[in-house]
Amino acid sequence: MVKIDLEGLVREFADGTKIGPIDLNIRDGELLTLLGPSGSGKTTTLRMIAGFIEAEEGSLLFDGQDMVDIPPRERNIGMVFQSVALFPNMTVYQNIAFGPEMAEWSHEKTVERVEELADLLGIRNLLFRKVSEISGGEAQRVGLARALAKQPSLLLLDEPLSALDPQLRERLQAEIRRIQKKVKVTTIYVTHSQDEAFAISDRVAIINDGRIEQVGTPEELYDRPANEFVAHFLGSGNVFSGLVAESSRGNLKIQVDDNWFEIPGEGEIGTEITFSVKPEDVIFSDSLQEDWAQAELVSITPQVGSFKVTLDFSGIPIIALTHDEDLVKRLRVNGEKTIAFSFNTESIIILRN
């Protein structure tokens, strides 16, 4: 139940890696995910918000109050790590009750709260078990209950589900989402899995090399990636670069190698433009078409309900999505190598670099 603002946060480490400057605003009650590849600084940023790592520059505000001198134990946060880090010498009950007990809640209030959370997370039957006697998924739920016990205003989750198998992961994702919505606690989630981020978040911040690339809802990020990195990372686009050959009536003609593509937008002739095309907006055919470019078929991968087709356009990989079973069958049977392709122009996005 708190609004978080990161303003110009910077931290440099002895080995030269640098995080920041980071500017990020997290709204009260939202679930925002920090998404990025390994080593991009997600965990470091999270630990800075928690207070375990001190920032060298910039400010961190909780509801407008600067947290710089406040140690983690006074920030009213709850954290869940990937390893969960349950206290091995205590039972499940004692783990969950730890926060309230440290804060010297009355015994009745503590018990009430623990039972409430145990019900919420479906672990009521585990309360007297030792930590070594529960499964991975159960441990994650205990960790979550423990983090929520003191009704923190901020919940921080650092890749909590990465170590679990996919089915369990999906189930727990949904639960986390459900609980978060119910409890209405501001939540920052860290993951490198795009599916996970998109499944549970209100908004996602893409982080790369210590800097935020783009923040937005999953749809915004997917449909309108701000730059090449985001587009590539999300797999939301095939990225092309070329020179503006013609510009008229809100359309540009871009020359990429020896091909011309028409895309909507404004620009000066001769300037370089980078644009992105979503896989589902790539149209291709096994018969020659006029004005269409040509590419080589590399592979066809079946997915749930569609086919992912990889093409090679003079060294540039193009990923296309199709639902056309017959086309795919023909391509397979005939062993056609050359494909004609074009784009669905409306949804082409021009990228900033």
Partner: protein, 374 residues
């Protein structure tokens, strides 16, 4: 249902409890340790311990009147080792002594500066009760008041060797002792740590330097690998009595009396004093009681030393210390007929005068160390 859930203890409370317990322990120690007996006497192990009853009983009986008269408890601190160790301990404690009186320093130890440093001269009014020659033999300056005396000489067990198998025993010379056979059968004590040991060393030096006119270190070089040097008299006694290869020991002239008493018949321990110049020689030792310098209870200490010359104490000496009490007016038990008395032999001490000893003792001991090191 509520009670099934465990409740946490407050760490502050636990720490407080532990701290309180710790304080209690320390306070208890403080009370117990400093609830001390009012009067401390240092003496050596085996003091008054060789009778049938053991030192505790004997000392209780001997000093009960004193304790009653002054309303105190005497703590006899029996230090392990011989009197030399007591001197060392007193020196270590010189800045803040806990002992009032020390019993057991002898006429040679008192010549050392280390001993004089820790004692306060006191001329007891009871000295009139004893022969003044004993006072002079021990310490004319009254750092020590005589307590008992005896002779340090060689003894042997008649069960293992005797004058038939070894006729030299009646006329023993150091040359006899230097033979491999006898040297490996001899037990003596460390002169640094033991008064009979020191007496033996001085005996040997006296004989070599004054009678034979030879270098005394030669004898030790000759016996070095064979002789058994124990730390103290108790250890030597144990070695001599339990090891069948050890026949001779540096001990006291009263040991035959002890043996007779123990066996109830004739003794099986005999003495073998040195024989030179047609005389038998032995070393006279006088042990004394001294007032510890800056002790906690000087007046009580003086009274105690006076009391040591009373018959209550002196009558216990013969049967428990196996030395001659300085109160020669008291009757001795019949077994003491088997003991040799200083009047029976020539006294080796007369060959070395005190100045000589004082000047040379340290260097003699150093030379001894050097010779005895392989």
């Amino acid at each position: 249902m509520m009670t099934e859930y465990p409740v946490r203890r407050d760490p502050k409370k636990v720490v407080a409890v532990v701290a309180i317990i710790a304080v209690l322990i320390v306070a208890t120690y403080g009370v117990i340790a400093f609830w001390k007996p009012k009067f401390v006497v240092y003496t050596y192990s085996s003091f008054m311990n060789w009778g049938d009853e053991g030192a505790e009983v004997v000392l209780d009986r001997a000093f009960a009147p004193f304790e009653a008269e002054y309303g105190i408890d005497i703590d006899f601190v029996i230090l392990q080792g011989d009197a030399n160790f007591i001197v060392s301990r007193l020196n270590a404690e010189a800045a803040n002594p806990v002992a009032d009186v020390v019993i057991g320093i002898d006429n040679i130890l008192i010549l050392q500066e280390a001993a004089r440093n820790v004692l306060e001269p006191y001329e007891s009014q009871n000295l009139a009760l004893i022969n003044s020659s004993l006072v002079d033999a021990l310490d004319p300056e009254h750092y020590l008041t005589p307590f008992d005396f005896g002779l340090v000489t060689l003894i042997y067990s008649m069960n293992t060797i005797n004058t038939t198998t070894h006729p030299q025993l009646d006329y023993l010379t150091l040359a006899d002792l230097a033979t491999t056979e006898l040297a490996s059968a001899l037990v003596t004590e460390d002169p640094h740590l033991s008064s009979p040991g020191l007496s033996f060393l001085l005996s040997q030096i006296a004989i070599y330097e004054k009678i034979l006119g030879e270098n005394w270190t030669d004898w030790w070089e000759a016996v070095e690998g064979n002789i058994d040097v124990e730390e103290g008299w108790s250890e030597a006694w144990s070695a001599w009595s339990t090891d069948s290869t050890k026949h001779l020991m540096v001990s006291y002239g009263t040991d035959p009396a002890y043996s007779a008493n123990y066996l109830g018949t004739e003794p099986d321990t005999a003495i073998a004093p040195f024989y030179y110049q047609n005389q038998h020689w032995a070393w006279m030792q006088v042990e004394g009681a001294g007032l510890v310098k800056n002790g906690p209870n000087p007046d009580l200490g003086k009274a105690f030393i006076d009391y040591c010359l009373n018959s209550t104490v002196q009558t216990e000496i013969a049967m428990n210390q196996w030395m001659f009490p300085v109160r020669t007016d008291l009757a001795l038990p019949s077994v003491f007929d088997y003991a040799i008395h200083p009047d029976d032999v020539s006294i080796l001490n007369t060959l070395l005068n005190t100045t000589e000893i004082v000047t040379n003792l340290q260097s003699w001991l150093d030379e001894y160390d050097t010779v005895m090191t392989p």
